[in-house]
Symmetry: C4
Subunit: 213 residues, 4 copies
């Protein structure tokens, strides 16, 4: 079994999920107040769209890099990849949920639940990605195995990344907006971190931190 269909199927799911995000962007339409006010009232939809778009985009980039390093595609990898995609597919749902409840109340009890779910799906995605990374560490599964001494560094980064989502979930139960900011900052961090070093070390698969990377 070769990598190409794994990549094609995953790319398809990433592409559809990222495009479906925009289905959450709606306004009530003519007769429901000025359009600018409607759009303004829906600002959480646009912020959540932006965050989720880049989170999916980053995880796609990292998926690309990690899968490219893999030599052997077995059914366990396919299963772990499905678990990752299971959470990716949920992102448009939780993105819509958080936008809907934030538009209604900035820190109501339900808004906090919605925000915790939003973080939980990213945490699940992060864990799915981490599981694929762990899988690559054993046997002769990648072209250039990660040296043992770097494995713990990579794991630490991964657990660190996932840990920030855990933090975001806990914070969400107290203050939804604060959690929203944390989740947004995670995305900004990965964009900033990834971009400058990119030309320096393309194709490194040892750093699946946080949601993506």
């Amino acid at each position: 079994m070769d990598r190409s269909r794994l990549e094609a199927f995953s790319d398809g799911v990433f592409a559809v999920a990222i495009t479906l995000l925009a289905l959450n962007l709606t306004v009530a339409g003519p007769g429901h107040g000025r359009l600018v006010h409607q759009l303004g009232a829906h600002w959480p939809s646009f912020v959540a769209y932006l965050i989720s778009f880049f989170v999916i985009g980053i995880i796609w980039v990292n998926h690309h890099v990690l899968i490219k390093s893999i030599k052997v595609v077995d059914r366990m990898l396919l299963f772990l990849n499905l678990v990752l995609l299971l959470f990716v597919v949920l992102i448009p749902f939780t993105t819509g949920l958080v936008a809907q409840y934030l538009s209604s109340s900035l820190n109501g009890a339900d808004t906090r639940v919605a925000m915790a779910l939003y973080g939980a799906v990213f945490l699940g995605m992060s864990a799915g990605f981490g599981a694929i990374f762990e899988w690559t560490l054993h046997g002769e599964r990648v072209y250039e195995p990660v040296p043992r001494e770097r494995q713990w560094a990579a794991r630490t980064r991964f657990v660190g990344g996932g840990g920030v989502y855990v933090l975001a979930i806990v914070v969400a139960l107290v203050n939804a907006i604060a959690a929203f900011v944390i989740i947004g900052l995670i995305a900004v961090y990965y964009i900033l971190e990834n971009t400058p070093t990119s030309s320096g070390e393309p194709g490194t698969a040892d750093s699946p931190g946080g949601d993506a990377r």
Copy 2:
């Protein structure tokens, strides 16, 4: 005609269908009771999402393996593949149907009909996959033809797998939840069965049991 576009098109359909599953996940939103209660009342949506996601995922894996073994792509194969995809595309519809009716009544007459339809679409998908498998047995259509003595074993497994869906449909007409459990167990069975033996025999195309492999 080469295999690559058959795979690309099928992967696209699988990817879109699996992602559209999440469109069934909705809540009424603010003003319709506590969010946790809304989510709790929609538990059938989440269970059905989980089952359908893995059923599509498994059939995709098995499709991958089976198509990879094929040497000649003729129009009959393209037609049989379309029949398989016809049922795959219906899965988001029946998944939504079963979730909607289960949320309304756990074993009402309509819930039982919805569950039977849910099983019937999986049975159709299973039959479509079986038809492609049968097609591979004749002529010089695969790189490594399945030996005649293993063909019946494979068919038996296939009919056995399809048979469980028939059982689920019959049970559904009596008890919707029991059928739901059976359909869920079929998915679990195929995940468990596939995963451990995976590295042992990648690429075997002789065992398209049940809905998938």
Copy 3:
């Protein structure tokens, strides 16, 4: 410019369009009468789904065969391909329209208009495919040019196929169901015609009759 991204993009559009067809399959849900009655009342949705699914499937097969024969991808081809896809993307809309109006009235004035539109989109798709075929006849654009004496046979078949859609549109304005039957028969004809001869002559690009093929 190579063929692969033309194929990838087109396959993506075909795959999304064919999967979106199922979004038209909905029932009002619990509290709107027995499910079997609801499904029964929606029979046009299911028949229209079936027809449109196979029409898109057939045009995909033929697109595959025709594009595969092409040596040079220029911007005119890309434009003609976009015109073809413009109509493919409209199919879920007209499929939903015809299903909606047929469910309401079997031959009301609006049902006849909806059916004429349904045929018109297939005619547009057929014309787009024919335009690509015409494009392949000139210059050194394909690996094995269609001999001049066979070009007219191919064109005749093409005009014949498109002509049946014109007939269907005209009939639709008088009797919607009769037109529905004609459109369904065109799909059945292309499935039957294509399947048996498939292994005999894979890859022939000289017969883009009707909607597809």
Copy 4:
């Protein structure tokens, strides 16, 4: 990191976005007046569909040509590509918005805002494409670097193209229909400009003017 998954993912997003455009085409259905009148009242939906379809189609063609010239895929390119796709994914939303408000009022205040947003998303897409083009100018990133003396011509064309969208946005705030015409003419211009010269110079990556091209 190779180009193929960048292309596959982008093609997926383009394909899904272009197909989702048709989800904006809806009529209220039976019981809401004659279908021809409903369709007539929705003419802005169809015009907006047509314009947005070709804008996405053109940007896809140009994306294809530009990416094909690239030798090195680094993370900055992936990020810029995500920015481009961020706007592409928004197109179905703004297309629906402009159709909805134009159907309600040809030049109401809200219609003008909707039209300005429609132009703004195309401007953002154009800027994203221009950023990728700028990226290709530095370092050894493309197979055949654009000569310095042609870079300014290309930039001028690009700024010119983007400038027309700026014009359209400004006009939109005064007269929505006039802006609609301008945006439509940009699409027509790029179709006409691209098509005839296509066979003459396939694969030129130095002219990403306006929204696409």
